[in-house]
Amino acid sequence: MSLTIVADLCTGCSACEPECPNDAISEKKNIFVIDPELCTECEGHYDDPQCLAVCPVDDCIVPLAA
C-alpha cells in the first residue's frame, strides 16, 4: 500500500518531504513524488499519513491505484 501525489495538483511547496518517516518523498522537476516501495502510509509511525495531513491542496495526495 502506498500513497501517490497527483502531479497536476502538486504546487511543489515541499511541506510533505520532511514529514515522511520513511524518506519516501523526493523532488522531481519542481514537484514531489512518493516512492511506492518505501511508502507505508505511515503505519507503525503515526495515526495519519503525514504527507496527507500537511498537504495544502485538497485531493493532491491519494491512494495509489493497484
Binding site: 511543489g12 511541506a15 503515526y46 495515526d47 495531513a53 495544502p56
Partner: protein
C-alpha cells in the same frame, strides 16, 4: 554618521493626537520598542517621533529598515528571498497555487530558491542596489515551517554580507521552539501574522493547522495557534527582538475584534501593528475569494486603524509585497534578478562602496528632513474651523514633494488634513491613467473610485479632461503647489479651502467611501 542622524524624524507625521481610545490601555511588557509605553506623544516609529523618544539602540535598529520606519522606506530598499515554500497552517485568504508575476501580494512567488541560490541573489542585488539594507524571508509558505532552509540562508548571508539586516515573518505556530535559534543569527526584526486573539474568531480564518504530527481543525486549531503566537511574541520581546504584527482585516470576521488584537499585542511589547486589507478576488482561488468574502473599503480600513491608534504603533505604509519582492517598498525589481540573470552578473561585494553610498543617502535624507522642518515652521497657522478634517491625495515620485503628473501616478499618498496638521495615513494603488501621452478614458473612473473619499488631489500637472472629470466627481484637482513639500502644500490648500468656506463661496460636505485596489497590479513597474 551617528551624529548626523540625531535629529531625524522616523516617520512622516503621524501624530498621536488622534488617540481614539479614551484611556491608555494595559501596561505593556517591558522591553518593547519605541512608543509601546502608551500615552500621548510616545508613538514614534509608527508615528511622529525619532531618536528623541526611543533608546538609541532601538533607533539604530529601525532607522534604515523600510518596513519599520516610514521615513526610511523612501530611501532604503528591501528584498525577500523565496526559500521557504512549505507551510504548517492553512489560511482562508491564501491559495498557494496562484502565481502571476504581474501581481503583488504576500504568499505569491515566481521562482523558489535554494539557500545557496538565495544568497547569491542577495549578494548580487546588494551590489547593484547599495541602498538595499534589509533581507527578509517571508515564505512563500512560512519561514519557520522550513527552519533548515531559512536558517541556512541566514547563516551564509551573515558570513558573506554582514552589513545586511536580517528579518523574517511567520504565522507564529513554530515560533516558541525557534526563538533561541532566531537570536543566534542576530535577527532583530520579526513579523508575526496575528489575525485574532479569540479562537472563536480564529476558526473562521484558519481551517486547519499541522501540529504534533496531526492535522488539527476548528476551535482547537485556532486555540493552539493563538497560544503559540502569544508565547512567541512574549519570548521575542523578552529577548529585545523588535516585532511587527501583521493583521489581515476581514470585514464581518475580525474587524470589530481588531482593537482586542491591538491591545493584546501591545501588552506583549509589539513594536508595530500593521493592519492590512484582505485581498480577496475570486480569481485568486482562495476560500474567501471563492465564497464571496469581500475586503474592506478604504473608509472601513481607516476607521479600524484610527480606532487602534492609542495602542501599538501603526504601520500605514505597507504595500503587501510578494515573497520575492526586490527594491523600495511599492516597487518590484525582482525581474532584473532572476536566476539566469544572476548567473551572468559579475558580482563583487564591496562593503566600502555600499557604506559610502549609504552615507550619501543619509545626507540627502537629512537635507530633505531639514528643508521640510523649515518649510513647515514658516507655514502660517490657520485659525479657521478646527473640526473639519479632510483627506487629500498626493501625486509624488519621491523626496516628500508634490512632483508627479496625475496621469503617471501608480500610487497616491493619502494625507488627512486639518487646520492643525497634515498626517500621512496611507497609500492608494491605481492603474496608471496616462500611458504614452494619451489619457485612457477607461482607467479614469477607477482612479476616481480609488480616491473618492478625498476632497482634493495635489499634482504637478494634470490634463484638462481628467481635471473636469475629477471636478464633476467633487474632487478638487490642484496643480498650484508644484515641487512644494507635501505637508506644506496640503496645509496651504486647506487654508484656501477653509477661507472659501468662511466666505460662503463653497459649502463643506463630507466625501463618500473609496475602493481599495484589488487584483493584478499591471501598472508599469
Amino acid at each position: 554618521m551617528q551624529s548626523a542622524t540625531a535629529s531625524y524624524v522616523s516617520i512622516a507625521d503621524l501624530k498621536s493626537s488622534h488617540n481614539a481610545l479614551a484611556t491608555p490601555i494595559e501596561t505593556p511588557a517591558p522591553g518593547g520598542g519605541c512608543g509601546t509605553h502608551g500615552g500621548e506623544g510616545k508613538a514614534s516609529c509608527g508615528s511622529s517621533g525619532g531618536p528623541d523618544d526611543m533608546p538609541q539602540e532601538i533607533w539604530d535598529k529601525v532607522k534604515n529598515h523600510p518596513c519599520y520606519s516610514e521615513e526610511a522606506h523612501h530611501h532604503y530598499a528591501r528584498m525577500h528571498v523565496a526559500v521557504a515554500p512549505a507551510c504548517n497552517i492553512q489560511c482562508n485568504y491564501c491559495n498557494r497555487k496562484y502565481d502571476c508575476s504581474n501581481e503583488s501580494r504576500p504568499g505569491v512567488v515566481s521562482q523558489k530558491l535554494t539557500p545557496e541560490q538565495a544568497v547569491k541573489k542577495v549578494v548580487a542585488v546588494a551590489s547593484e542596489i547599495p541602498q538595499m539594507t534589509v533581507l527578509g524571508i517571508a515564505g512563500p509558505g512560512d519561514s519557520l515551517a522550513s527552519p533548515t532552509k531559512t536558517f541556512a540562508t541566514f547563516k551564509m548571508l551573515q558570513e558573506q554580507a554582514p552589513d545586511i539586516k536580517l528579518c523574517l515573518s511567520t504565522n507564529g505556530l513554530a515560533l516558541p521552539e525557534l526563538v533561541d535559534e532566531i537570536c543566534k543569527y542576530n535577527i532583530d526584526h520579526v513579523t508575526i501574522t496575528i489575525n485574532m486573539v479569540d479562537p472563536a474568531v480564529g476558526e473562521k480564518i484558519y481551517p486547519w493547522i499541522f501540529w504534533n504530527h496531526k492535522r488539527v481543525t476548528g476551535y482547537e486549531a485556532a486555540k493552539i495557534l493563538h497560544e503559540q503566537q502569544m508565547k512567541g511574541l512574549e519570548m521575542l520581546t523578552a529577548r529585545g527582538v523588535l516585532t511587527k504584527i501583521n493583521s489581515v482585516l476581514i470585514p464581518g470576521i475580525n474587524d470589530e475584534h481588531m482593537i482586542e488584537v491591538n491591545k493584546a499585542v501591545k501588552a506583549r511589547g509589539a513594536f508595530l501593528h500593521n493592519i492590512m486589507p484582505l485581498i480577496s478576488e475570486p480569481e485568486h482561488g482562495t476560500y474567501f475569494g471563492l465564497n464571496g468574502q469581500r475586503g474592506p473599503t478604504a473608509q472601513e480600513l481607516k476607521a479600524v486603524q484610527d480606532a487602534c491608534m492609542g495602542g501599538a504603533n501603526l504601520m500605514r505604509h505597507c504595500r503587501q509585497c510578494r515573497a520575492d519582492a526586490v527594491g523600495l517598498l511599492g516597487e518590484d525589481r525582482s525581474k532584473e534578478f532572476t536566476l539566469d540573470k544572476i548567473e551572468e552578473m559579475e558580482v563583487v561585494y564591496d562593503l566600502d562602496r555600499r557604506r559610502s553610498y549609504q552615507d550619501k543617502v543619509e545626507a540627502e535624507r537629512q537635507a530633505q528632513h531639514d528643508a521640510k522642518v523649515e518649510a513647515l515652521a514658516s507655514q502660517a497657522k490657520i485659525e479657521l474651523d478646527e473640526n473639519i478634517k479632510v483627506l487629500v491625495a498626493v501625486a509624488t515620485k519621491g523626496g516628500g514633494r508634490v512632483n508627479e503628473h496625475f496621469g503617471h501616478v501608480t500610487e497616491f499618498q493619502i494625507f488627512e488634513v486639518s487646520s492643525k496638521e497634515a498626517l500621512f495615513v496611507g497609500h492608494r494603488r491605481v492603474d496608471q491613467y496616462c500611458q504614452g501621452g494619451f489619457g485612457d478614458d477607461e482607467q479614469l473612473p477607477s482612479v476616481v473610485r480609488a480616491i473618492n473619499d478625498c476632497h482634493a488631489v495635489l499634482v504637478a500637472k494634470i490634463g484638462a479632461c481628467p481635471k473636469d472629470e475629477l471636478k464633476s466627481a467633487g474632487i478638487e484637482p490642484i496643480d498650484g503647489y508644484v515641487d512644494e513639500f507635501i505637508e506644506k502644500a496640503a496645509l496651504s490648500w486647506f487654508a484656501d479651502y477653509a477661507s472659501r468656506i468662511a466666505s460662503g463661496e463653497i459649502v463643506h460636505v463630507a466625501r463618500g467611501d473609496a475602493a481599495i485596489r484589488q487584483g493584478a497590479y499591471t501598472a508599469a513597474a
